[in-house]
Symmetry: C2
Subunit: 221 residues, 2 copies
């Protein structure tokens, strides 16, 4: 499908720019991908996202949009093929609710559990496990959060399906284990989906990146 | 307009449940309001919002929705009269972007500036002022974030239009001052809009509530 001048400013291992790539690919929208050097951000990125100065930024017909979840909804409203949001208002509200839960509850609790200081880790593990139990109940009996196919919540949850496992390997700790069997089944289906599989960053290179990054932030804290 | 069994679980001085009330009133949707005792939450609230156990919760035809911004979008999609979201996908993305900015950047920076410990206050004031400058630019030349009428971003920004002034009076500090003239003009128009004016909680009672609450959290920290 013609992207009518669609550009994505991203970073190869960012789960947030990857969300946008996944949505564009699921939709079949052609786009030009521009890799950012986060140590030396391009003038275009700073111009297009002056508030946060972060990837991802989607530029469509010269107009820029930032924030991955905002971009996902824009993509779904602009290119109608292969919807990622449900059509029913209540189901849409539920999708937004769970995406928000993943962003505001799960991501910070994983961070505390895997990267937190001594005083935070125990609380972080406890919170993470509570959050994962909640997500298991949501997924019970379904292939994906989106039902039979990958939708908005699954795309947002790429952090859990793939990145958490990279982080875990990088820090040699485990909090999302096989005991969460419903989530692990979902994760297996997700990362083996043809579009997802060809788009995710390579595992070994990604783990090496996070290992170096976490070591650096530990050294400078 | 018939609300077809619309119930709102709220708390009289919560800016979050107030967002939902404002949207329902702007839309002209009839609803039953149920005041929650936050020290002794009702079984219904805990049943309807088991994840966060918080107000607001909207129940429509027996189905519950939590999280104020999620509820606002549901309301706009369910009752089409007097839209609060723009119709154009790019404008909708911008509305979601600014609502997220207010929720994730402005609210935490106000909290640090007005309620933070000694080490946080200075940084909090600096961040707040930067954020307010950004919002001034967005509002420049417009009556409301929504253009000529109150929309999604204005409703989310009730925290800035009214609550920040309550907090400031309660703690006897000022960070949002008249130097932010564009925001102050907007705030004056906003709080004097007929629907907003009749719905906001009474000022003196609200200030007294926050004065007591902040004193209590200071004593217990």
């Amino acid at each position: 499908m013609a992207g009518e001048g669609v550009k994505l400013y991203g970073f190869w291992v960012s789960p947030f720019s990857m969300r946008v790539e996944l949505a564009l690919k699921i939709k079949g929208v052609d786009y030009e991908y521009i890799e950012e050097d986060l140590q030396n951000k391009s003038p275009e990125l700073l111009q297009y996202n002056p508030v946060h100065k972060k990837v991802p930024v989607l530029v469509h017909n010269g107009k820029a949009i930032a924030e991955s979840q905002v971009i996902l909804e824009y993509i779904d409203e602009t290119w109608k093929e292969n919807p990622i949001m449900p059509q029913d208002p209540y189901e849409r509200a539920m999708a937004r609710f769970w995406a928000k839960f993943i962003h505001e509850k799960c991501v910070p609790s994983f961070r505390k559990a895997l990267l937190g200081g001594e005083t935070e880790v125990e609380k972080g593990i406890e919170e993470t496990k509570e959050n994962l139990m909640i997500l298991e109940k949501v997924l019970e009996g379904k292939s994906f959060f989106g039902g039979e196919r990958i939708g908005f919540v699954d795309i947002v949850a790429n952090v859990i399906a793939y990145w958490v496992f990279l982080y875990q390997e990088a820090v040699e700790k485990e909090v999302l284990t096989e005991e969460f069997s419903v989530l692990c089944n979902w994760k297996d289906k997700y990362v083996n989906h043809s579009i997802i599989k060809e788009t995710l960053p390579p595992k070994d290179k990604s783990v090496a990146y996070y290992r170096a990054r976490f070591a650096q932030s530990k050294a400078s804290s």
